[in-house]
């Protein structure tokens, strides 16, 4: 067993990176999903091409991005085009895999990124979230969708407050096709404690892989329905030193994985620029 220390975010990024295959075209959102994409590209899928909804196709990942429209999203791109064009290409089926985050997910993999209602409703919610962005479009149109979400109380719910992005809708046979959706729906839900997949018949989410040191009961207690567990439940391997190095190189100033705390620990703009250039491989 490796004694290398790692954070939950790092393990999430590594588990997600494994869902990408070499030569695929991936539509990836900002944040940890992007770190996972960069990690895959620098590790086991060097020919992975990333597409951003701003209109950037196949950039070299010299720098990490904080928004899909950062100039870094265009660094060394194969094609720089428009937003409506990449969404049309998505609708044509050119993109193999998409990665999404969410605030809430239900047992059929439907996602909420619009609002947490609390005691209120859509019009006066407890927490207003960013909205769909391109999330709904990815969930509607891309062949394989991987969801990244922390396994925390009130995130895995029987029913999402607002269905922003379609998973398997009500789970009934052919529900996606009946609604007019193209992609085949979510294939994996990567969390900080376990990885879930979907039953091909019932479309219900089940526990597929548990992380080292996590108990099945702990996972079940954080899921808002009677979670089924795979007969051949797997345990994820500890991340290797090489995998951790790849994740850390993808986010060298730790501003994605480390958030506001990491931002405050930087001495200032000079240090940020120096770290970025030093780790760009350029």
């Amino acid at each position: 067993m490796s004694e290398t220390r790692y954070t939950k975010s790092e393990l999430m990024a590594i588990m997600t990176a494994k869902e990408f295959r070499d030569w695929e075209v991936a539509f990836v959102g900002i944040g940890i999903p992007l770190v996972a994409g960069i990690t895959a590209k620098r590790f086991h899928a060097p020919n992975l091409n990333i597409v951003y909804e701003s209109g950037c196709i196949g950039p070299q990942k010299y720098r990490v991005d904080f928004n899909v429209g950062d100039s870094s999203a265009a660094d060394g791109a194969l094609c720089l085009t428009s937003e409506w064009r990449v969404f049309s290409d998505m609708q044509c089926g050119y993109y193999d895999v998409g990665v999404l985050g969410a605030a809430q997910i239900d047992k059929y993999g439907n996602l909420n990124t619009t609002a947490i209602f609390g005691e209120q409703d859509y019009y006066s919610p407890k927490v207003r979230l960013p909205g769909s962005g391109g999330g709904n479009d990815i969930g509607s149109n891309i062949g394989r969708v991987v969801v990244m979400v922390r396994l925390e109380p009130l995130r895995f719910v029987e029913k999402v407050d607002y269905l922003t992005t379609p998973g398997f809708l009500d789970g009934s046979p052919g529900a996606r096709k009946k609604a007019g959706l193209l992609g085949s729906g979510p294939v994996a839900v990567v969390t900080d404690k376990a990885l879930f997949r979907f039953d091909p018949q019932t479309h219900e989410m089940y526990l597929d892989t548990i992380y080292p040191g996590v108990a099945v009961e702990e996972v079940k207690s954080l899921v808002g329905w009677d979670l089924k567990v795979a007969a051949g439940l797997k345990t994820a391997p500890e991340p290797t030193a090489e995998e951790l190095a790849a994740v850390r190189a993808a986010d060298p100033a730790n501003l994605i994985m480390g958030g506001a705390a990491a931002r405050k620990s930087l001495a200032g703009l000079d240090e940020y620029i120096e770290i970025t250039i030093k780790n760009s491989g350029k």
Binding site: D65, S71, A73, D75, E83, T114, G134, P166, R176
Partner: protein, 306 residues
């Protein structure tokens, strides 16, 4: 849709906003959380414009400022968040608590709203998309119409053309006629300029028309779509502008932290916007040295030839 094609449409930012952005009008902004018209949003706030309807895809920095300053009545769009930094503090305060005003929201997906600008640019009443089907976006937004495709019978969503009164789009280079050249991604800018009744181009540099002609492929927006041309160097800060300057993530992080508190946001707004006479005064407060460093960083990665 310009009223007339003058040899020069160059004016100051103050003049352009005063002439084309009125209280109560509908507006869209170019860029895509990157190449955003931040300086133009500052000027809208300085001029005290109110009751705007913002029709947009993903434009957080501009929207968070405008909503916090009380300029927006309604938003039709897809995304309002600070990417990897977090949620949008002023949007949350407005929607959750009605401070300073409660904005009306109409949610779309990015592809859905993109199709609205495409329809507007094609001068057709609507466009079809396979996005948003089967979700609550359609439940709460009755302007998305699900019909059966009259040819094949499968369900498809229809979205109405967007026709904002004004589009403001920041580009790298333009000439005084209004030919606007863009490097990097282009978002929905070509369609926004065509869908809008009036288009203001803000740019990093004004170049000669001969210079435009050297690389006509790069002209995303031709002169006849454009009503005003304004040179606004560093007009996107703290956002990035491909080939000119990198994203100032630390400045944006500080803003985000301050904006979580209403009083601190108002102090920020007063310091950087209301008590800055114009964009040059804002740049001086940010620091020319800082802006030069962001420019130096960007040019390590992306350089505009010529």
């Amino acid at each position: 849709m310009t009223e007339s094609n003058y040899a020069s449409k160059q004016m100051t930012l103050q003049e352009a906003i005063k002439k084309y952005v009125q209280s109560g009008c509908s507006i869209t902004f170019g860029g895509f959380i990157g190449r955003d018209c931040v300086a133009a949003a500052h000027e809208i706030i300085r001029q005290g414009i109110r009751d705007l309807t913002v029709i947009d895809d993903s434009k957080t920095d501009v929207m968070d400022l405008l909503v916090g300053a009380g300029c927006v009545k309604r938003w039709e769009g897809a995304y309002l968040g600070y990417g990897a930094i977090g949620l949008a503090p002023n949007i949350r305060r407005s929607v959750e608590k009605g401070v300073p005003l409660k904005i009306e929201l109409e949610d779309w997906s990015n592809a859905g709203i993109s199709m609205r600008f495409l329809a507007g640019s094609l001068n057709v009443p609507f466009m079809a998309t396979r996005s948003m089907l089967g979700t609550d976006i359609i439940k709460y937004n009755e302007r998305v119409k699900v019909i059966n495709d009259p040819y094949e019978g499968e369900p498809v969503a229809l979205v109405p053309a967007a026709r904002p009164d004004v589009a403001i789009i920041h580009v790298q280079r333009a000439d005084v006629m209004g030919n606007a050249q863009v490097w990097g991604f282009t978002g929905n800018d070509e369609n926004k300029a065509r869908a809008a009744r009036h288009t203001i181009i803000t740019c990093e540099e004004i170049v000669s028309t001969d210079e435009i002609r050297r690389q006509g492929n790069l002209t995303l927006i031709p002169f006849y779509c454009v009503d005003a041309v304004v040179q606004v160097p560093f007009g996107c800060h703290p956002q990035s502008c491909y080939g000119y300057y990198a994203y100032d993530v630390l400045f944006c992080g500080d803003y985000h932290e301050a904006a979580k508190d209403r009083d601190k946001f108002l102090k920020w707004l007063d310091h950087y916007v209301l008590s800055s006479e114009d964009h040059l005064a804002y740049c001086a407060k940010v620091g020319w040295d800082r802006l030069q460093k962001l420019m130096g960083m960007e040019r390590r990665f992306n350089r505009i030839p010529g």
